[in-house]
């Protein structure tokens, strides 16, 4: 069991030869602990990603039953983009808009819990996570009910004239963006809260004492200090939002389809795996590029 604590490997008045043996064990021990998990992640995360890349280069004229030939078909990529560029653009713009809305409503929430809630802090934090306990699909279907044409929300918006008499919410881009914002908001609020919770309130008071306006204090003190949480939160929000297709499928219509819907149909209904793989691989490449650019730009350089 000293394998687990790692403490037992420390020499506790052991004789010399025993000590050497223990030091030796200590060297291969971490690898032994890592092996099962790392092997699993390698076999079922790294290898599949490579296979996805390979599938995206298969000869598209094959079929699922007859199999596909590897022909290094790089033209699959331009073909897939030509086929699905509106959905690709939509994925990134919907996710970006949802992220901005998420920051605008999530920041006050995280700030309120971290700095203003006092002894209610833990309870409010539970309230942020609690909605996620209900199944993702069931929650999204509940939005379908709320936004439906004969629901109270549409009725109210029609009454006050914000919507035309035949205006609707369901099956619009607004509904999809609202769903994305809703489903991923806790991922943004939690890291942001963690950053704001560590923020020393005296710094804000000091800025006020030095005649900084509240706005100036926010942009010069609060925001920079919460940057690590904001960066982590936006990424945890944006990444799943780009790849999501459930909100588009349940709350939108065919004009709001995102790239996930195309990938889904390529693999599961249209039987064109090379196209689906190309789009999926492309999505991963773009997201990785965005993540690295974003982390570098808003990372430690600017924060410090």
């Amino acid at each position: 069991m000293s394998l687990l604590t790692g403490v037992g490997a420390r020499p506790v008045g052991a004789p010399g030869s025993d000590k050497a043996e223990r030091r030796d064990r200590r060297r291969w021990l971490p690898y032994l602990l890592l092996l099962p998990g790392a092997a699993w992640l390698f076999l079922f995360f790294v290898v599949p990603t490579i296979q996805l890349g390979a599938t995206s280069l298969y000869d598209p004229s094959g079929s699922v039953t007859a199999g596909y030939a590897m022909t290094w078909e790089f033209s699959n990529y331009p073909d897939a983009i030509a086929y699905a560029w509106p959905q690709i653009l939509r994925s990134f713009s919907y996710a970006a808009i949802a992220t901005v809305i998420g920051i605008v409503i999530g920041y006050p929430l995280a700030y309120a819990i971290a700095q203003k809630a006092g002894r209610w802090k833990n309870l409010l934090l539970v309230c942020v996570v609690a909605p996620m306990f209900t199944s993702f699909l069931v929650r999204t279907l509940a939005w379908k009910t709320i936004l439906s044409d004969n629901g109270w929300l549409v009725g109210f918006l029609r009454d006050i004239g914000l919507l035309g008499d035949d205006g609707r919410l369901l099956a619009t881009p607004a509904a999809v963006i609202l769903g994305l914002t809703y489903n991923f908001l806790p991922f943004l609020v939690l890291p942001l809260y963690a950053s704001l919770e560590r923020l020393d309130y005296r710094l804000i008071e000091a800025a006020g004492d030095l005649y900084a306006s509240p706005t100036r204090t926010f942009f010069k003190v609060t925001l920079p200090l919460s940057m690590p949480g904001l960066v982590a939160g936006t990424l945890l929000f944006f990444i799943p939002a780009v790849g999501d297709y459930i909100n588009a499928a349940l709350l939108g219509n065919t004009n709001t389809n995102m790239v996930g819907n195309v990938v889904n149909s390529a693999f599961l209904s249209r039987q064109e795996p090379p196209q689906g793989a190309a789009l999926s691989f492309l999505l991963m490449a773009i997201i990785l590029a965005i993540v690295f650019a974003y982390v570098r730009r808003s990372g430690t350089d600017e924060v410090v």
């Binding site: 890592l34 992640l41 996805l52 409503i105 006050p108 929650r139 459930i246 795996p273």
Partner: protein, 263 residues
């Protein structure tokens, strides 16, 4: 009034956002007591408790829930073991290849489920593996491991290593030290990780959708039922999941607070 608003607007906005987060939950809970006027109507029609008493009424619903629970349980056990071992290695040992290991753990959390789901499907197709229970389980263990590592590692990092050293100084054997000191201290982290893994597995749709073949889990059931009309019992399951998880969280919170008071 202006003064009050200046002092409290952040909290007011925060509470309104919480209201937004809870709105669909209220709808789900409400609809779980609804007797719909027809199969495709989701409007509140009449109050009934039939959905709660006749939970397994809709064909295949309870089978799907049971299957999800089984997969969740197995995935939790495997992922918790694999992830806890990795967390101990990372928190307690110096070794070459640490940053590579960290990257391997971080990447599955930063990759959209769409990409992981399609990757696994590509692999299983290429390897000629029959899609079903086993492929779902493999996938669920994979995406749960990283979350377990992060959770347990955080707990280990916050632990005072001197407690273990003190036990050793007092002539406890390595096994006794682990059994009496390390395990009790790290156990809350492992339990939290296991609960997280179970809820991730139970609720997963996107990855499962690509790798399930004809096997129907609870989210797959909901997805399929969406085409032909959702039975109100689905809302019962949603409400029950919410209530059980909330009770668990509150119970651990109260226990922790009581523990803190004693200490």
């Amino acid at each position: 009034m202006r003064r009050w608003f200046a002092d409290h607007w952040v909290m007011t906005v925060g509470l309104m956002v919480l209201l937004y987060l809870f709105l669909p939950i209220a709808v789900v809970a409400g609809l779980s007591f609804n007797r719909p006027s027809n199969r495709l109507s989701y409007d509140f029609n009449a109050f009934t408790t039939d959905n709660w008493t006749n939970l397994c009424g809709p064909a295949d619903l309870c089978d799907a829930v049971g299957r999800s629970a089984w997969i969740g349980l197995l995935a939790t056990v495997f992922a918790t073991i694999l992830g806890t071992l990795m967390a101990f290695a990372l928190a307690r040992h110096k070794f070459r290849g640490r940053s590579l290991t960290n990257l391997l753990i971080f990447l599955p959390m930063a990759t959209p489920e769409l990409v992981m789901g399609t990757s696994l499907l590509a692999l299983f197709t290429a390897g000629g593996l029959q899609l079903g229970f086993v492929t779902i389980l493999i996938a669920h263990i994979m995406f749960c491991v990283s979350f377990v590592v992060v959770t347990v590692k955080a707990r280990l990092a916050g632990m005072d290593a001197r407690l273990e050293e003190a036990a050793m100084d007092l002539y406890a054997t390595p096994f006794q030290t682990f059994r009496r000191i390390t395990l009790p201290l790290v156990l809350p982290g492992i339990v939290a990780a296991a609960l997280l893994a179970f809820s991730l597995s139970f609720d997963d749709f996107i990855i499962t959708n690509f790798n399930s073949g004809n096997t129907v889990t609870f989210p797959m059931y909901v997805w399929g039922a969406n085409q032909r009309g959702i039975p109100p019992q689905v809302n019962v399951i949603g409400t029950a999941m919410f209530a059980i998880a909330l009770l668990l969280v509150l119970a651990t919170n109260v226990r922790r607070r009581r523990g803190a008071r004693v200490a």
